[in-house]
Amino acid sequence: MKGYANNILYINLRTGKTKTEPLGEEMARKFLGGAGFGIKMITDYQRPNTDAFDPENPIVYSCGTFCGMMVSGSASKWGVAAKSPQSQGLGESYSTGFFGSELRRAGYDIVVVTGKAERPSYLYLEDDSVQILDASHLWGKNNWDTEDIIKSDLGDPGVRVASIGPAGEKLVRFSAIINDRLRAAGRTGMGAVMGSKNLKAVAVRGFNDVEVADVDGFKEMALEIYEKTKGPETEKYRNLGTAANVLTLNKQAAMPTRNWQDAVFEKADKISGEASNEMYVEKIQACDSCGMRCEHVAVVREGPFKGAIGRVEYEPSYAFGSCTGVDRPDAIVRAVQLCDLYGTDALSTGVVVAFAMEAYEKGIITKEDTGGIELEFGNAEGMCDMVEKIALREDIGDLLAEGVERAAAKLGKGSEKFAMHIKGVEMTGYDVRGLKTCALGYAVSRRGADHQRHGAYGPDLGGQVDRFKAEKGRGQLVIDGEDLYSVMDSLIICKFSRRIWDYESYAKMYTLATGIPMTAEEMRRCGERISNLGKIYNLREGIGREKDTLPIRCMTDPIKSGVAKGSLVTQEELDLLLDDYYETRGWSKEGIPSDAKLKELGLESYAGYLEDLKNTDSKKKSGKKKTTKKTKRD
C-alpha cells in the first residue's frame, strides 16, 4: 500500500505513553482518510456517552488521503474529530494550509490523543520522535504568537503548528484550532477539546518521502487536474472568492440578516466581495499544492480597524456582516483576525454576537451585562469588542462562550426563539427558510447546522428544484450530496475544486496513489459508509430524530422581504422531508439504520450500539398508537 504512511500514532497525555500501529489496508480501503478516519476512530476509541470535556475523550487528527502529494489543493488537507462540546455529538472539522502535508511526511496518517496533561503542554512530532513538551510559557498566548514562539523554541522555521488560543484554553465551546495563521479547523469546538486536555498545540516536522503507486499515471492525471483548475469551474474562487456569494445570496433573499430576522441585507453592496476585494485584498495566495488559490488576504491600512489582517470569505461576511447588521468590511476583517488570534470559530462567533445583539435590543441583556458596550445591530466596534469578551469569557461573554443554545437556556425570556443553532452548533449563512432542500440538509447534518456536509443549497439555488417546496425526492438529493461530501472530506479534496472531480476521477486518483483497486461505485459506497457511521455515532451518543430539526425561528418567523418573502419551514414540511430522507437512506422512522443497511456497508459490527435504540423505537411506536387510540376515544 503506497500513498499512506501506514501508521497510527496514539498518545496518552496523562501517562505520557505513546504507541504506533499500522493503519492497514482494510481501514484505508473502507474509510479513505480525513472524515472517514476521524469518525471511525472516535466511534471505536471513545467510551459511549463520554462528555466532550472528559479527559478520556479522544481527539483524532487525520490526514486526507492525498496529503503530501501533488493533488491540487489536497496536499495539506487535514481533519480533526472528537465528541463536540457544542452538540455532545459528532465533532469534526477540516483545515488546510501546510500542516497536513507535514504530518504525512512525519509518517502518520492518524494521531489519537487521549488523557489530560498535568500542565500546559504541546506535542512535537518529528518523524519517529514524539515529544510532549512544556507549554506553560505559551498558555494565554494568541495563535500567531504561539506559532512563532514554537518555531523559535524548536529552532526550525519549517515546523508547522496547529494550536489553540486563549478561547480554547478557557473552554469556549466553539473554539477553533488554527494553523498557518489564517487556516482554521473551526467548527464544532475542537479547540475547546484541546484546551480541556491542557494541549496548547500540535507541532510537526517531517522528512519522509511520500510515494505513490503508479508514478507515471499519477503524474499524468495530476497535471490534467492542474489544467482543469485553470478553467471556468474554479474561476469564482480564483477571483472574488466565496465573498462573491454576498450579492448572489442577498438577491435570492437567502442571506440571513440581523440574527435571521430577515434574509435580505440592505447594505450588502458595502460588504460584498466586490467591495472588499477592491478595498482591502492585497494578495490572493494558495495552500500547499493548490493550482487554484483562494486565500484572499485582506489588510486594513487605515481607519478604526487599521492593522487588521484576515481572510475574506462569504461565511464571515454573513456572520460578522449581515447577521450582526454591520456594514463595514474592515470591521469584518478585524473580527476574523480576532477569531484567528484568540481561536474561535468565526462563524459561530458572529452568530453568537448577533444573538446577543438581539437580546440587548429586546432588553434581555443590558449595558451592565455587556461591560458598557452598546450592543445594537450594526455597531462595528461593539461587535469586535464583544468577540474579545467572548474569547476571554469577560462579562456576558462568559455566558455567550457557551454558545447560543446554552446561553438562551440560561437567559430565558423567549431568547430560545432566536437562538440560531441546530444541535447546539450555530447556523451558517444560507437562509434555509426559502431553500427547502437545504433546510433538510441542515436538519440532518451530522455535525449540527452546516452547509458543508451536503451542499444542498446547490439544487435550490441552481433552479434544479422548486426551492420553496418541500416534497418527496429531496431526501435523495441530500443523500447524494452527503455521500459525495463524505468522500470529499475523507480524501480530502478542496470543495472549491469539486466541479472538476467526480467519483470516477476520485477512484482513479486513489488507485494511482495507493495501488488499492477502487471503482467509482466503491468510492460512492465509501461515502455512504462514512455518512452512516457518523449517524451511528450520533445515535449512540443520544442524538436522534428529535435533534434533526431547525432553529425555532426558521419554523415560526417567515422571511420578511425579497423573493423569499413569507417563506418558512413548517413542522409538517420538515416531517415530510425527514421521513423521505430516512426512508431513502434505509433507516427507520426514527433514523436508525437497518441491519440490512449495516451489512451492505460492512458496518455490522456496530449493530450493538443500535440494539437498545431499536427497542425504544418500537416502544415509542406502540406508545404513539396508544395515544392515538386514546385521542380517538376522547
Binding site: F98, V212, L223, Q285, A286, C290, R293, V297
Partner: protein, 163 residues
C-alpha cells in the same frame, strides 16, 4: 564572448506560495514527493510574501569555491552547478556559501541544486500562475528598469493632473 546564464526566476507578485514547483521537482528528480528533495524551494513570509528560489547560476559561484572536495563545478554551457556524486560527502559548506539557500544537501547526503532539467525546467511547466520563468540577470534588470520608468511616468502624469 560573454556567456549570459539564465536561471529559474520567480515573480513575487504572481507567486501564490503553493509549492507545486517543489512537488514537480522532487517527482522529476527522485520519483517521490518530498520538498527536501526539491531543487527549487517556495516560502511564505506572513502574511502574504511569497517567493520560490532556485539556483541563480552565479558567475564564479561561491558554492563551487567553497567546496573542500572539488565536488562542484559549473557548466560552461548554461552555468548550472554539476555535482560529482562520488566526491560529494554532504558536508554542507556549499549550503553555507550560498546567499540564496538555493543549494542544499538532500536526504541522500549529496548536494542538490537546480540543473535546469536540460533546458526545460519542470517547475516552470507546472507553475499554475506562470510566476516562474527563465531569466538572465540582464533581462531581470531590464524589466526592473522598465517598471521603474513606467512608475515614474505614471507619477509624473498624476502630478500633472493634480495641477
Amino acid at each position: 564572448m560573454v556567456k549570459i546564464h539564465k536561471f529559474v526566476s520567480c515573480d513575487p507578485d504572481l507567486c501564490t506560495g503553493c509549492t507545486v514547483c517543489e512537488y514537480a521537482c522532487s517527482l522529476e528528480k527522485d520519483g517521490v514527493f518530498n520538498p527536501i528533495r526539491s531543487r527549487i524551494r517556495a516560502l511564505r513570509v506572513y502574511p502574504s510574501g511569497n517567493l520560490a528560489i532556485a539556483c541563480r547560476m552565479c558567475e564564479d559561484a561561491p558554492c563551487v569555491i567553497a567546496c573542500p572536495r572539488d565536488a562542484l563545478q559549473q557548466s560552461e554551457e548554461d552555468g548550472h552547478i554539476i555535482v560529482d556524486e562520488d566526491k560529494c560527502n554532504g558536508c554542507g559548506w556549499c549550503v553555507e556559501a550560498c546567499d540564496f539557500g538555493a543549494i542544499t544537501v538532500g536526504p541522500d547526503k549529496i548536494a542538490i541544486v537546480c540543473d535546469l532539467c536540460d533546458g526545460e525546467p519542470k517547475c516552470i511547466d507546472v507553475c499554475p500562475v506562470e510566476a516562474l520563468s527563465l531569466q538572465s540577470r540582464e533581462t531581470k534588470a531590464r524589466k526592473s528598469r522598465i517598471s521603474a520608468t513606467a512608475a515614474r511616468i505614471l507619477a509624473d502624469a498624476a502630478s500633472e493632473a493634480d495641477k
